[in-house]
């Protein structure tokens, strides 16, 4: 029998929807009264950026509360590669070289005492280790070159399973065959001297990669027993060389004390850290990190609370709120990677370069950037190297190479038709019968980019099947699997591991590095022999300027081949509470640098 309950329940539900709707209402005009963020890399007035932030004079002491939606992936310096992990490794570990917050290409000697000495044949690297740096408790002793040797040995240990070391260290003698034991080419010639011998003249890329956390020293006598476990348990007991350490119990155990997965992490000062050996000011006494929570809620708490920063990317409504009402609490870090539409260069219709150019020409890159948050957090991508990376200007700077399919970021159907005709489709529309597999990320805003891309393909005449799957599934099961032969992946992107052009272009676009059995990061299956050969030659070039020029030339060739459709150079937004003097960094994705941030 029907009762009034159904009606009442429905009425209450309806009222709730409307009430909630009303409480979240904003101006429907949508056109912000605030000034628009300018394009071409400029940061809007009133918004901070790492290049103009003071690195000195911060107030000492106090506790900072960090809020983040995401958890860490790998905190072991031998494993970490996720940008969020770097927030911890930067503050707790000292790599041989490091980036200060205001630079992305000028590395500063950190555990190294000075610049490396490189032999004339580019096959021998000698690095002097800084004296007077000590490990945190329970190890407590001084760091020596032997600790650097063990750090480099262990990344080849299958139990540590560093996923990318061969990409940069393959030329180190014995590294490719190493399984955790001593690597023949890595030696301590005396207490403070590290020597790295190469089989190929690739000193440039090897030295550049020594900014990564894997070059932070690890004490063998302490870590070896943890590294013998599969997987290594060193992460639960690791010691620090930086100004901070993860809180540990009396046995040195971090798990459950200083780090609770999915919940929290606590950084306290390293009692053995000696400020005179380090360039980091390390103002704060303690950093409490809360993990999880709704990104919308976190962002609002940070903007309206005190002593807080958010270390992952704020949600889009929060960003809008920050820009319109809390602009002084917003910081934008340019050069935080690129996003592009990967198109299959090795299979299907896009093996035809003219079809790739037609797709590039038709894509409304301005619209795609708007879907990702607009000009405040994006710049229209016109080629592949981004600002801060050597070779960016030589490759065309912000305007990019002057080719007709790159001229109009709003998309140009006339140019697209021209290339479709050149590809053998006289009507100016694609008339092939196959259905393109388009695989995108199901989470916003990526899903919207995928839908917009799918619409562009349809406009060009392609038949498509759009599938949206989880972000990790997109990479691990489809776009990163060669045998899947996905035609279009609209949501892939790249963040350089360090400020070297090879770190930007080599893995995603070098056909020699396509991983046929495993997770492949050349998502467009770009494999052009001429470009592969040019990359091999450029990898041997030494010196920032020379390397920049060599890789800029490759960048222009990638544009000539229209290997993918680039649309976004990212700018990382960071937010802080009013009473926090946050210092952002430029390297990697560009989040807050906890070793420079202080309270007001």
């Amino acid at each position: 029998m029907r009762s009034l309950r159904t009606i009442l329940a429905a009425a209450v539900a309806g009222a709730l929807i409307l009430a909630l709707a009303a409480c979240g209402s904003s101006s429907s005009s949508g056109s912000s009264s605030s000034s628009s963020a300018s394009s071409s890399g400029a940061i809007p007035a009133g918004v901070q950026t790492p290049t103009d932030e003071s690195l000195t004079g911060g107030k000492k002491g106090g506790t900072l509360n960090v809020e983040q939606n995401e958890d860490y992936e790998h905190l072991d310096p031998g494993q970490s590669y996720f940008s969020l992990d770097y927030d911890i490794t930067d503050a707790t570990q000292r790599s041989l070289y490091s980036y200060k917050p205001n630079t992305f290409s000028q590395a500063t000697p950190d555990m190294a005492e000075g610049e490396p000495t490189i032999s004339d044949d580019n096959k021998l690297i000698t690095i002097k280790i800084r004296k007077g740096v000590h490990f945190s408790p329970p190890v407590n002793r001084e760091v020596t070159a032997a600790d650097e040797v063990y750090a480099l040995d262990r990344i080849a240990n299958p139990n540590v399973a560093n996923p990318y070391y061969l990409g940069y260290l393959e030329s180190v003698e014995g590294m490719k065959a190493a399984k955790g034991g001593p690597v023949a080419g890595v030696k301590a010639t005396d207490k403070y001297t590290l020597q790295i011998k190469l089989t190929e003249p690739q000193a440039g890329i090897v030295v550049a990669s020594l900014v990564l956390p894997f070059s932070a020293p690890v004490p063998e006598e302490y870590a070896k027993k943890f590294d013998a476990k599969k997987p290594s348990e060193y992460v639960n007991y690791m010691v620090a060389t930086g100004p901070y350490m993860l809180k540990a119990d009396s046995s040195g155990k971090i798990l459950g004390t200083g780090y609770q997965p999915g919940k929290s992490a606590t950084l306290i000062r390293n009692p053995n850290w000696n400020a005179s050996t380090d360039f980091r000011p390390a103002y704060l006494d303690q950093i409490n990190i809360a993990i999880g929570g709704d990104a919308n809620v976190i962002g609002r708490q940070v903007l309206e609370g005190s002593h807080m920063v958010q270390t992952d990317t704020p949600a889009s409504p929060v960003l809008k709120l920050a820009f319109q009402q809390h602009r002084s609490q917003l910081q934008i870090s340019p050069g935080s990677g690129s996003r592009y539409i990967a198109i299959n260069n090795s299979n299907g219709p896009f093996t035809n370069v003219n079809l790739r150019k037609a797709f590039w020409a038709a894509t409304d890159r301005e619209a795609l950037d708007k879907l990702r948050g607009g000009k405040l957090v994006t710049d229209i991508q016109t080629h592949f190297l981004w600002t801060g990376i050597p070779g960016f200007e030589e490759a065309g700077g912000y305007p990019g190479p002057k080719v007709d399919y790159n001229e109009h970021p709003q998309g140009d159907m006339a140019v697209a038709e021209k290339y479709l005709k050149l590809a053998g489709y006289p009507s100016g529309k694609y008339t092939g019968s196959e259905t393109l597999q388009v695989v995108g990320d199901s989470s916003p805003p990526a899903n919207n980019v995928a839908e917009a891309t799918n619409e562009t393909l349809k406009t060009l005449g392609f038949k498509t099947k759009l599938n949206l799957v989880e972000h990790t599934v997109m990479y691990s099961k489809y776009c990163g699997v060669v045998s899947e032969k996905i035609d279009v992946c609209p949501n892939v992107g790249w963040v350089a591991d360090f400020g070297d052009p090879q770190a930007v272009l080599d893995v995603p676009f070098n056909g020699e590095l396509i991983v046929k059995n495993g997770t492949n990061s050349n998502w467009g299956l770009v494999n052009h022999p001429k470009i592969n050969a040019a990359m091999k030659a450029a990898s041997k070039v030494v010196g920032e300027k020379a390397r920049g020029e060599a890789w800029a030339k490759i960048d222009r060739e990638l544009v000539e081949e229209a290997v993918v459709v680039p649309y976004e150079w990212g700018k990382q937004p960071n937010i802080e509470s009013k009473d926090v003097a946050g210092v952002g960094q430029l390297w990697n994705t560009g989040t807050w640098d906890l070793s420079y941030t202080s309270l007001k």
Partner: protein
């Protein structure tokens, strides 16, 4: 003291007329009784009118969108978003506002009706046919047939349908499963609905048939030499129509909600097809700044489910006087 008829019936002789007229009792068929009852139920009639309206909207969606001067549901226009990519709210040109791609929300809500009704009605119809067929057979034959079918129902009822949907979505997302036969979309949702819901109808029908098969009209039919098939489908089945209609009407809104849930979880209807559940999911992260994107598909879903529920209640009351208020 004597009194006149006018004193007994102050309204005059009309009262006597009523008594006389009521003495001529007209025979009414069950259908006529049902028709009279349902017409008296104003809420059910309003709900029926809304359901009819929904059916018209679903069938005539392109025409309605055109008449209202709205862009098509898949027309993207990012000029209708602000500099942060946030969609613009309701306006004269877009009464329900637009979404992040600049697509007209009203047009998508109108087209979303198609998906909801298709899934709700088709899924329920398939479930009803299966449930009624097996229910009659199980109730009529009893014994091992009943045991086999009833245990099968128990097994099917233990399948967690949402998890199954999520599993299909994850495993069959791009290439499909079984050579592409199974891939996420409307057909899989209808399959899931039929898979789960026939069991409820089976149980109701089986119970009724166990009772009906002992009634005199079945004995009479058997005495006249009717076959089992004839008894089941010509004698018993007509007696099941009313409860099955009522239950099916109540299942439709549940199935619409199931479609919305699966689409919300990303394993239902594939984009760019408009679905209310999918729209609500897409609106969730920007709810604070674009309420209209969640509110209008949410209201459409709410009203549709409510209308079917109230109509189902009305049908039940009209078809079964014992449950009437």
């Amino acid at each position: 003291m004597s009194v006149s008829a006018a004193e007994i019936f102050p309204g005059g002789t009309g009262g006597l007329d009523v008594i006389e007229a009521s003495e001529e009792i007209a025979a009414r068929s069950p259908l006529q009784l049902f028709s009279l009852d349902i017409r008296k139920d104003r809420i059910a009639m309003v709900s029926l009118a809304f359901v009819v309206f929904l059916v018209i909207v679903a069938f005539a969606a392109p025409l309605i969108v055109k008449l209202l001067g709205l862009p098509g549901p898949y027309v993207q226009n990012l000029n209708l978003t602000d500099e942060f990519g946030s969609p613009l709210g309701p306006s004269g040109a877009h009464p329900f506002g637009v979404d992040q791609l600049g697509e007209d929300v009203m047009a998508r809500v109108i087209y979303g009706t198609r998906v909801s009704l298709e899934v709700g009605v088709v899924g329920t119809a398939i479930a009803s046919v299966i449930g009624v067929s097996f229910g009659i057979v199980a109730g009529f034959y009893r014994g091992w047939v009943d045991t086999l079918l009833s245990r099968t129902v128990d097994v099917v009822l233990s399948i967690p349908v949402l998890l199954l949907g999520l599993g299909i979505g994850a495993a069959c997302a791009v290439r499909g499963c079984l050579g592409g036969t199974i891939s996420p979309g409307t057909s899989v949702i209808i399959f899931l609905i039929a898979l789960v819901n026939w069991t409820y109808i089976f149980r109701i029908v089986r119970g009724l048939v166990l009772s009906l098969r002992e009634r005199e009209f079945v004995d009479a039919s058997r005495a006249l030499g009717a076959s089992n098939a004839r008894i089941m489908f010509r004698e018993i089945l007509p007696n099941l129509v009313a409860p099955v209609i009522v239950y099916a009407t109540l299942l439709i809104p549940l199935n619409i909600l199931l479609e919305a849930s699966l689409s919300f979880l990303g394993v239902g209807v594939r984009p760019p097809t408009a679905s209310w559940g999918q729209m609500i999911a897409a609106a969730t992260p920007i709810f604070n700044t674009a309420w209209w994107y969640m509110a209008f598909p949410g209201i459409a879903l709410l009203l549709t489910v409510l209308a079917f529920n109230l109509l189902g209640d009305g049908l039940r009351d009209a078809l079964n006087p014992r449950t009437a208020r």
